[in-house]
């Protein structure tokens, strides 16, 4: 049964899809969400709402996803296993689905050590693959993980993340296969900077036929400054930024423009890789750049389906 989300429709139509990330505010102002959503409205097919990203407390992805739905956008509600157990996660899914949210992204979640409550107790009742299974079970059998039936339709387009760049590299395609088997419909990858590693991973993905089971969207992070490039290379675990890219940023007279140029090049490059069905642009705190990148990469206008 189709979930009926715009993202699903664009992918089903065989179009190259675009999603973008919207970071909810560290406060109560929904106006911030609205402003960012309007920037993204016409340049992507669905908008991801992060769930206390990097373990920093922000407005909930559930509240923001519902708000975006009411604004007529197609939200992707991110859900991490760090903060909520299977009761809370399933309850949130019921609320979101009831309000018309159709895309759900299942994540483990950054460790709380990185956030603003490092003394918190984490949950991890489920892991991300089990969360996919639980959601797929709800969708396909209309039953909770615990076995009880519930009422009402629950159309869901289920997403998951994949990191082709983290150790152990040969295991990464296996983990993707598990996510596909658990019931994932689409995948958004970690930021791609190293096309060689990404290309090798995609070859493994195709060899297993996984690109036909899940729609793979390559993660794109536009670099805003030399500092960001260096920081991502040196301090963000599981992200590979080749020195060549950092050097380009360092040598550029206008690093911001160079970061945008690199992002457009990366979009062009991943688009040429067989099996890549879209891009997921994560312009953390720099949402304004997304329409520019989409335009320059020839991804506009977005299809109306």
């Amino acid at each position: 049964m189709p979930a009926g989300s715009n993202l699903e429709a664009v992918l089903a139509a065989g179009r190259f899809a675009v999603t973008a990330e919207l970071g909810p505010p560290k406060g109560t102002n929904l106006g911030v969400v609205e402003r960012k959503a309007e920037i993204l409205r016409h340049c992507c097919d669905a908008v991801n709402l992060t769930d206390n990203q990097t373990a920093i407390v922000r407005m909930s992805s559930l509240a923001c996803a519902i708000h975006l739905r009411r604004m007529g956008l197609d939200p992707v509600m991110q859900m991490t296993c760090r903060d909520r157990n299977r009761l809370a996660l399933q309850s949130d899914v019921l609320g979101a689905a009831g309000a018309g949210v159709r895309n759900f992204l299942c994540l483990s979640g950054d460790h709380q050590q990185f956030g603003n409550h490092p003394g918190a107790k984490n949950v991890f009742d489920l892991d991300s693959i089990q969360l996919i299974q639980v959601l797929a079970g709800m969708r396909d059998t209309r039953r909770f993980q615990g076995g009880d039936e519930f009422t009402g339709d629950i159309p869901m387009f289920i997403g998951a993340a994949a990191n082709p760049f983290a150790d152990p590299l040969p295991y990464r395609v296996v983990r993707l296969a598990k996510k596909a088997r658990a019931g994932a419909n689409f995948i958004q990858t970690q930021a791609v900077f190293d096309l060689e590693i990404f290309g090798r991973w995609m070859a493994q993905v195709r060899a297993r036929g996984l690109h036909e089971q899940v729609a793979i969207m390559a993660g794109i992070v536009p670099l805003k400054s030399v500092g960001t490039a260096r920081y991502m290379r040196d301090y963000v675990s599981g992200v590979v930024v080749p020195d060549a890219i950092v050097s380009r940023m360092e040598d550029a007279p206008d690093p911001k423009a160079e970061g945008m140029a690199i992002a457009v090049e990366l979009i062009d490059a991943v688009r040429e890789i067989p099996g890549v069905r879209g891009v997921h642009i994560m312009a953390v705190g720099w949402e304004d750049v997304v329409p520019i990148l989409a335009e320059r990469a020839g991804l506009l206008p977005r299809p109306l389906i």
């Binding site: 296993c81 760090r82 299977r86 483990s108 979640g109 950054d110 460790h111 050590q113 990185f114 984490n122 991890f124 009742d125 489920l126 892991d127 991300s128 693959i129 089990q130 299974q133 639980v134 993980q145 993340a161 994949a162 990191n163 983290a166 150790d167 152990p168 295991y171 296996v174 983990r175 296969a177 598990k178 088997r181 658990a182 970690q190 675990s237 599981g238």
Partner: protein, 225 residues
């Protein structure tokens, strides 16, 4: 073994203040092996306390083989009887054992009980088991992701692995990299294709405090279950 670490002296000093007669009681098993609560540590801590508390307090020292068994705790009944408080250098089980056997005396923790683990190298201990109550080591190459992965993930590593270590610390090897390497070495890496579904955590502490009753052993001692 149960691995523990002595509390800061200042915290212990605050804890024992006001008591005139203190028994510092070591434990001859786990905390002796991890150099936190054996005879030597009992002696050193008692000396330190005498020097910071002076005449305020009279300190007696003793060590039992295990603070978690009545038969050993019974051997120090007289010394406990002379004390107002017992500062245990056993694990949290030992502190509570003293309290249960001698409810009239104040049992105090001299250690922080850290984890169940092993000695990785002299002076280095690492966690290996969280007593989740439903062992799955046969499915994970003999390496426990519940205890050794910072997120207790059961289906492979998260995206935060860098150079084989966990995103939270370079000192923490990624459990799933260890599992992957071990199973690769054993030629059993295809085991990692299996999905481990959502667990039943009832057997863990989530199911409430745990207790085991063995009717066969109860029969042997002639008591009713």
């Amino acid at each position: 073994m149960i691995v523990a670490q002595q509390k800061p002296l200042e915290e212990i000093r605050q804890m024992v203040r006001g008591f005139r007669r203190l028994l510092v009681l070591g434990c001859g098993t786990c905390t002796t092996v991890c150099f936190a609560g054996g005879e030597k540590e009992v002696g050193l801590l008692s000396t330190s306390l005498r020097s910071v508390l002076g005449q305020e307090i009279e300190i007696e020292e003793a060590v039992v083989q295990r603070q978690c068994e009545w038969e050993f705790l019974d051997q120090v009944g007289e010394a406990v009887g002379r004390a107002e408080a017992v500062l245990s250098l056993g694990c949290g089980v030992g502190v509570q054992g003293i309290g249960e056997r001698y409810p009239g005396v104040v049992a105090l923790p001299g250690l922080n009980t850290a984890f169940m683990g092993l000695t990785e190298a002299p002076g280095i201990w690492g966690e290996r088991c969280m007593a989740c109550g439903d062992c799955l080591l046969h499915r994970t190459g003999g390496i426990c992701p519940v205890a050794r992965c910072a997120k207790s993930l059961l289906n492979g590593p998260c995206g935060g692995v860098q150079d084989g270590h966990c995103e939270i610390s370079v000192d923490n090897p990624c459990a799933w990299v260890l599992i992957y390497d071990r199973l690769t070495q054993q030629g059993r890496v295809e085991q990692l294709e299996e999905i481990i579904p959502a667990r039943d955590w009832k057997a863990s502490h989530s199911g409430g405090p745990r207790r085991i009753v063995r009717p066969d052993l109860r029969d042997m001692v002639g008591e009713e279950v």
